[in-house]
Symmetry: none
Subunit: 217 residues, 2 copies
Amino acid sequence: MKETIGDRLRSARERKEMDQATLAAKIGVVTRTLQRWERGDQVPDGVAITTIARVTNVQPTWLLTGDGEMYPSPARPANMYELSPSHRRRNMRRAELPVISSVPAGKVATMFHPDYVDDYVTVDDVKDSGAFALKVKGNSMAPRIEDGDIVVVSPQAEARSGDICVIRVNDEDTLKKVKLEGNYIHLIPLNPEFDPVTVRKRDVNFIWKVVKLIKEL
Amino acid sequence: MKETIGDRLRSARERKEMDQATLAAKIGVVTRTLQRWERGDQVPDGVAITTIARVTNVQPTWLLTGDGEMYPSPARPANMYELSPSHRRRNMRRAELPVISSVPAGKVATMFHPDYVDDYVTVDDVKDSGAFALKVKGNSMAPRIEDGDIVVVSPQAEARSGDICVIRVNDEDTLKKVKLEGNYIHLIPLNPEFDPVTVRKRDVNFIWKVVKLIKEL
DNA sequence: TGACAAGACGACAAATATGTCGTATTTTCT
DNA sequence: AGAAAATACGACATATTTGTCGTCTTGTCA
């Protein structure tokens, strides 16, 4: 059954272990009115929504739409778009990620400098708030991933053998399938025209797992 | 002067460069009502607040209380540089497209029935307002396009030889590379394990060009 | 300057929300 | 098991919101 504002209002009240009369009094309405709201017979107005959220410590957006977390959380990624209830997938996160046209040498901190950020791309289902996108150069992973495609990488995700990753080795960046073996990492192109390379873990500046591919046809 | 919901509502409308009649229509109220809300004479209810936030792309919490950011901002890693507006791509089209889990037999008009719409996916750069997405079943186009991938199709775009298309022939749907030759269309799988097929144009119910591929890795 | 669009707002009717009151049912506690 | 608290809900009156209609003012554009 589709959840209503009233359903969430009741959840919020019950989580605070309040009865209807107590909450109604704190909001400034009679119990009958709160009952109508909880039943979905009537909808609280904007002012009442704000008061309910404050009194029950829930987030107004959650109360209105069900999106996001019920309670404020400092760990929550900053300012994800909230979709309208009628179209949202459960717990789906959409983000606008910067697309970097080339990964510059040097420190990671400078790579988001405006000179390298080419574009933004909108992506659903991004769990890592630090994710971003890279435009692929070269065909070492063709035909699966080709020059000009966009890959979304997740610095937070743990890379495992078999994953396709962006790896920086000695200030040089590459997109490869990886195989982890002891202190070595094998960088395996999918395109047979390229040779695999083995590098030492300690020579790797970073390794970012690719979580999504976006390709124009 | 303390800002009201109405003040923020007016700000949100003006930032979208919308007039009162346009926004009122999108929300589903008459202009007079919007004017009462903007003046603070009356307050929108919870449902209207949600609609206003969605239509103007502001955060509901900001609209209600003024707290937090007016707009959601793109997720970005720490130490991100702020981009100037000139770096943002202009006039980009973003669309939420229905993802159809299977293409039903019969009339095209019924295919968007909720029973077949599995999900929605957000896509940038869609020029055809009639575009939609399909979840791929089968591996005839592997390794480029695999089972479970999502393809965005554009009924408006003209299919040409060499394009990858969704084709319906005699009430059966298939995803193939096409070659147009006189009154015949050759349907060419990319996976060598499948055989090409030739069909007559007149037996083809529709042919939709694939314009974008979305793949989870 | 004049035409038109957009915005503002009052008056009134209709629709909806809220409060009051009372009764019934369910849940909780002893 | 019974009492009390909490919840539910219908009926009706009152309050408020919304829609309609019309008129006026302000802003924009040629």
